[in-house]
C-alpha cells in the first residue's frame, strides 16, 4: 500500500493462479498441427524399412504413382537430385532423409507418398515395391566394436568401424590414486535402457511452399522453431527471411520434438513438387520406432569411500548407443551431454568418466525425454552407487547421504569435473523429505514387515541438476549460441505484449512469463499477451528443452521488463518534472521519494510515452525494450526423493505405495505450475523404473513399436504424490529462479529402483536393471536378473 491517497501497489506477479491458456484447451479449441487445414492440402505418408540393415537394390514406384489419388511419390533418388537426400544432424553428423544406398535401422524412411487424403496415402505405400538385400545387423551395442562387426556408416569415406567418439572428463590419474588407497570400493555394471519420450501428440508438419512469393511456411511440432528455420534455410536453399516456422499448440515435447525429422523435409519437398500444402503426421509406431529415443547408456560405475562412510571418488565408463546416425541434441562440445555431473551432490576428492559412442542399427537419438542432456543417466549412476555403498557398509542410505551431501557454506561449489553449482542447502532438503515421509517410522515398519516375510522397500535419491544452457563461451548447438531473445512492448492503453523465443509444450509459458512481467512492472498478468512459436513474430532463440526456459528466457524477460521500467522512469520524470534519480519504484508505479502521492502508474506512463509529451534528450518515445540474454552459468535445482514400494515375491509385481518429493528450484514463479511439472516427472520415473522399454531382438527388430509394448504408467500405477519445497535462490539469476521441468524425471527413477532393490534385500539382491518388470524382479530374486535391452531369447 502506498501512503495516504495513492493507488494501491499492484498485486505480486508471482504466486498460484489459473493458467490463461486453459481457456482454449478445456473447450477443445487448441490448435495442434493435425488441426491445421489449408485449402488444397494434401497428405503425406512415409514408407519405412522392415529391415534393420539392408542394401537397397531398387525402388519401384510405378504402381503407387498410378493410384488415382496420388499426386507425387518421392524417393531418395528424387531428393538426391535436389540435394536433399541427406541432412545435417544436431551432432555434426548426417542423416538420410530418404534412404539411397542402404537402410540402417528398422523403420528408416525409404519413400514418401503425397495423396489427396490420409487413407489413400497409406494405401499407396503398399504399392511401392522395394528390393532389399538384407545385411547382418548390429543390435547389441556391446558388439558394435567387435572386429568384423558389420559396418553401418559406409556412407562416410574412410570409415572402417562403428566408433563415433571417445570423450572424457575429470582427472583419471587422481581418481586412480584415490581408488588405490581407498578402504572400500564398490563397482556395478548398470544399464539405463533405451526409452522414449512418447508425447501424446506424435510428430508432424504442414509444409506450404508458395511458389509465387518464394515463401515456405511450415507448421511443425517443434520445440525450437528458430533453430529449425535456420536449418531449413541451410538445407533447402530457401533464404531464411522467406521461411516461417510456426509451432502452434504442442501436445507434449519432452525432447522428442527437438530434432528435424525426415518427414518434415519430405513434406517440404512434397509441397515444392506439387505446389500445394502437404501435411505429414506420423502414427505412433513411427514415433516410437524412428524418432529420437532417449538414454541407452551401458555404464560401469565405481565408487571409492572410507570405511566410516565418506564418499571419496566416483569413476564411470560408458558405452553410448547412438543408433544409426548420430542425432543427439546437445551443445556441441559435449558429445555425452552433461553426463560429467555424475559427481552428484557430494564433495568428492576425484572423479573421472570416459564415454565411447557407437553406431548400431537402431533409430538415431539419445538425448531426449527430459534428460537435461544426459543428467538422468548421471544421477541414476551416482545414486545407485551411493546405495550400493550403503549396502556394502550396512549404513542407512539416507544417513549415508546426510554424511556426504555438500553443505550450504560450500556454495558456489566447483565439482571435480568443472561444474559450478550455484546454490543449495542439501541437508535441509533431504531432512524435509525424510520428515514428510516419516522416515524413521517407515524403517521400523519395514523391519516388522520383513519379520513377517513381506517385502517393503524404501528408496532415497538426491539429485543435482544443471539446467538453463547456456553461457556462450561454453555452449553452442551447431555453432549457435544458446542466448535467447525477448521483446516487451507496452501499448498506449497500458496492456502489453511479450514476445519470447522459447516454446511451451504444456509448461504454461503464456501464464508464467506474463507473471514475470507482472512482478517486475505491475501490469496484471491477464493484461500481458505472451507470443511464442511463430518465427515471424518472435526473436531468435534456441527453444525449450533441458529445462532452459525459466533460467534463460525467464531471466531475459525479467531484464527486459527492468529495461522498460527504466525507460518508464525517464518518462515519469518528464511527466512529474523531477530528476529521474529522485524517483523510487513500487510495483506498478514510479513516485517521488519523500512525496509518495506524487507518482505515475505504469499505465499512465505508457499513455504518456506515446503522447506528445516532450522527453529528455536521448530518451526515445513509446515503451518497449528488447534483450538477448547470455546466461553467466547454468542453474542448479536439486531435490530429495523418497519412494516406498511393496513387492510380491511370488509374482515379482511392484506396487508404489508412496512417493515423497522435495524440490528446490529456487524462486517459484507459479507454485501450482511447478507442482504440476514435478507430478508429471515423477510418473516418468515409475514408467522407466518399472515398465518403459524400447527393446530389440538379436536381429535388430524393434519390439517397442506400439503402446501395447511401450507401456506408459496410468493413474493406477501412480500414487498420490506428496510434495515439499525448499527455496535457495540462484544467486546469478535475475529473479532467483532455477527451472524445474525435468527435475522429477531426473530424480525419480533411482528412487524407485533403490526402493525395489531395498525391498529385495532379504534375498541378497544388489542390483537389477530397469525396467523392473515382474519378470525382472522375480529373476533378480532367483539371482539371475535379465539383460533388458535385448529381448528374451534362448539363454
Amino acid at each position: 500500500m502506498t501512503g495516504a491517497g495513492g493507488p494501491p501497489t499492484a498485486e505480486p506477479g508471482f504466486g498460484r493462479r489459473h493458467r490463461k491458456e486453459d481457456q482454449r484447451f478445456i473447450r477443445g479449441r487448441g490448435l495442434y498441427v493435425d488441426d491445421v487445414r489449408l485449402p488444397g492440402m494434401l497428405y503425406g505418408a512415409v514408407l519405412r524399412s522392415p529391415y534393420p540393415h539392408a542394401r537397397i537394390i531398387a525402388v519401384d514406384t510405378i504402381a503407387a504413382q498410378a493410384h488415382p489419388k496420388v499426386k507425387a511419390v518421392i524417393t531418395g533418388e528424387t531428393l538426391a537430385g535436389l540435394n536433399l537426400a541427406w541432412m545435417p544432424t544436431l551432432s555434426g553428423d548426417t542423416q538420410a532423409v530418404l534412404a539411397t544406398d542402404k537402410v540402417r535401422f528398422q523403420g528408416q524412411e525409404v519413400a514418401f507418398v503425397v495423396a489427396e487424403d490420409r487413407y489413400s496415402a497409406r494405401d499407396a505405400l503398399e504399392l511401392i515395391v522395394v528390393d532389399y538385400e538384407p545385411l547382418p545387423a548390429v543390435a547389441d551395442a556391446r558388439r558394435a566394436l567387435d572386429p568384423g562387426a558389420p559396418l553401418i556408416r559406409d556412407d562416410q569415406p574412410g570409415r572402417t568401424t562403428n566408433h563415433i567418439f571417445d570423450w572424457e572428463a575429470g582427472d583419471a590419474r587422481r581418481a586412480d590414486e584415490v581408488f588405490r588407497d581407498a578402504e572400500v570400493t564398490v563397482a556395478q555394471d548398470m544399464l539405463y535402457p533405451r526409452v522414449h519420450p512418447a508425447p501424446l501428440e506424435t510428430c508432424g508438419a504442414v509444409a506450404d511452399f508458395d511458389r509465387v512469393a518464394g515463401k515456405l511456411t511450415i507448421w511443425a511440432t517443434t520445440q525450437a522453431p528458430h533453430a529449425h528455420r535456420t536449418l531449413y534455410a541451410m538445407v533447402t536453399g530457401v533464404p531464411e527471411h522467406k521461411i516461417r516456422v510456426i509451432s502452434p499448440d504442442i501436445g507434449g515435447g519432452f525432447g522428442n520434438k527437438v530434432p528435424i525429422y525426415p518427414g518434415y523435409v519430405c513434406a517440404i519437398a512434397g509441397s515444392m513438387i506439387t505446389g500445394q500444402p502437404v501435411k505429414w503426421m506420423e502414427d505412433r509406431s513411427e514415433n516410437l520406432m524412428s524418432t529420437s529415443f532417449a538414454r541407452d547408456f551401458h555404464m560401469r560405475g565405481e565408487l571409492a569411500a572410507s570405511r566410516d562412510g565418506r564418499i571419496r571418488a566416483v569413476r564411470v565408463t560408458v558405452l553410448a548407443d547412438h543408433g544409426a546416425f548420430n542425432g543427439t541434441a546437445q551443445p556441441s562440445k559435449f558429445p555425452a551431454g552433461f553426463f560429467s555431473v555424475f559427481t552428484g551432490s557430494y564433495d568428492l576428492e576425484a572423479a573421472y568418466c570416459q564415454v565411447t559412442g557407437v553406431y548400431t542399427n537402431k533409430a538415431p537419438g539419445g538425448v531426449a525425454y527430459s534428460c537435461s542432456f544426459r543428467i538422468t543417466e548421471a544421477v541414476y549412476l551416482v545414486e545407485r552407487m551411493v546405495d550400493l555403498l550403503a549396502l556394502e557398509l550396512d549404513l542407512d542410505p539416507a544417513e549415508l547421504r546426510l554424511r556426504n551431501l555438500l553443505r550450504p557454506e560450500q556454495f558456489p561449489y566447483t565439482c571435480q569435473t568443472g561444474w559450478v553449482y550455484d546454490s543449495g542447502d542439501y541437508p535441509r532438503t533431504l531432512r524435509l523429505a525424510m520428515d514428510l515421509a516419516g522416515y524413521e517410522g517407515l524403517r521400523k515398519e519395514q523391519q516388522a514387515e520383513r519379520e513377517r516375510g513381506h517385502l517393503m522397500g524404501i528408496g532415497v535419491s538426491f539429485f543435482t541438476e544443471a539446467v538453463g544452457a547456456g553461457p556462450r563461451k561454453h555452449m553452442d548447438i551447431l555453432g549457435f549460441g544458446m542466448a535467447d531473445g525477448v521483446e516487451l512492448r507496452v501499448h498506449p492503453t497500458g496492456t502489453a505484449v511479450l514476445r519470447i523465443s522459447v516454446q511451451t509444450q504444456g509448461q504454461g509459458h503464456e501464464t508464467t512469463f506474463a507473471q514475470i512481467v507482472a512482478e517486475e512492472l505491475g501490469i496484471p498478468a491477464d493484461d500481458v499477451e505472451v507470443v511464442h512459436g511463430d518465427t515471424d513474430q518472435t526473436p531468435f532463440g534456441l527453444g525449450t528443452y533441458g529445462s532452459r526456459s525459466t533460467p534463460v528466457s525467464g531471466a531475459a524477460t525479467a531484464i527486459v521488463a527492468r529495461k522498460v521500467r527504466e525507460r518508464a522512469r525517464a518518462v515519469a520524470s518528464a511527466m512529474l518534472e523531477v530528476d529521474p534519480a529522485d524517483l523510487d519504484w513500487e510495483r506498478g508505479r514510479w513516485y517521488v521519494r519523500g512525496d509518495p502521492d506524487q507518482g505515475r502508474t505504469i499505465a499512465e506512463i505508457a499513455l504518456a510515452a506515446h503522447s506528445d509529451l516532450e522527453l529528455p534528450d536521448g530518451v526515445e518515445g513509446q515503451l518497449d525494450a528488447t534483450c538477448v540474454y547470455n546466461p553467466p552459468n547454468l542453474t542448479y535445482p536439486c531435490g530429495a526423493y523418497i519412494c516406498v514400494v511393496d513387492v510380491d515375491p511370488g509374482t515379482g509385481k511392484v506396487r508404489v505405495r508412496r512417493f515423497i518429493a522435495v524440490d528446490d528450484c529456487g524462486v517459484r514463479i507459479n507454485p501450482m505450475i511447478v507442482e504440476g511439472q514435478v507430478h508429471g516427472g515423477l510418473a516418468d520415473g515409475i514408467g522407466m523404473a518399472l515398465m518403459e522399454l524400447i527393446a530389440f531382438d538379436g536381429d535388430g527388430n524393434c519390439l517397442g513399436g506400439s503402446f501395447m509394448d511401450y507401456l506408459l504408467p496410468t493413474s493406477l500405477e501412480c500414487p498420490s504424490w506428496e510434495l515439499g519445497e525448499t527455496v535457495t535462490p540462484s544467486p546469478h539469476h535475475p529473479i532467483g529462479a532455477k527451472g524445474v521441468g525435468e527435475s522429477a524425471t531426473v530424480g525419480s527413477p533411482p528412487a524407485v529402483v533403490n526402493a525395489v532393490i531395498d525391498a529385495l534385500r532379504p534375498y541378497g539382491v544388489r542390483h537389477a536393471d530397469m525396467p523392473l518388470t515382474p519378470a525382472q524382479v522375480w529373476r533378480a530374486i532367483q539371482g539371475r536378473p535379465l539383460r533388458t535391452d535385448l529381448a528374451i531369447g534362448p539363454e
Partner: protein, 165 residues
Amino acid sequence: MTIRVAVSVNGTEYVREVEPRLLLIHFIRDDLGLTGSHWGCDTSNCGSCVMWLDGRPVKSCTLLAAMADGRAVRTVEGLERNGKLDPVQQGFIECHGLQCGFCTSGMLMTARWLLDHHPDPDEAQIREVISGQVCRCTGYENIVRSVRWAAEHEGASRMAEDGPA
C-alpha cells in the same frame, strides 16, 4: 465406394457420404471439423480420442463412422452449455488438471460420464475410471483433484445455469 452416415453430434445432425472404413475419430475431426478430440496411438491405448456415443464414453479411434450412423455423439465441444462451462471444465482450470491439453478432452468426457453416474466418487474410483487414458504431463494427481472439485461444485453450477425458479 461410399455409404451415407447420419450422426447427431452435440445436438446437431450431420449427413455425409464416407468410405465404410473411415474411423469415427477421423469423421469427427476431418469431415466435421471438430478437432477438440485427438488421436495419439495405433492400438486403442492412449484414450485421447474418447468421446460419447449414445451417452457412453468410447475410444472413437476403434469404431467406424458407419457404426455411429443413426446415433448420437457428444464431444468436448458439447460440454459448454449456453456459454457456461461444465463443472468438469471449470474444475480442470481450478486445479491445473491440464498442461499440454492433448489428453484433456478425453479426460473431460470420461469425468463428465463418471459424475453423471457417481456424483461423489472417491480418489480410487476416479483413478480407476481414467486408467485406460494416458497423460504424459500431469502425473494424474491434478486430474483427480479436478474431478473432485467438479463433484463438489456440481450443484452450484447447475443452480446458476437453471436460473431463478
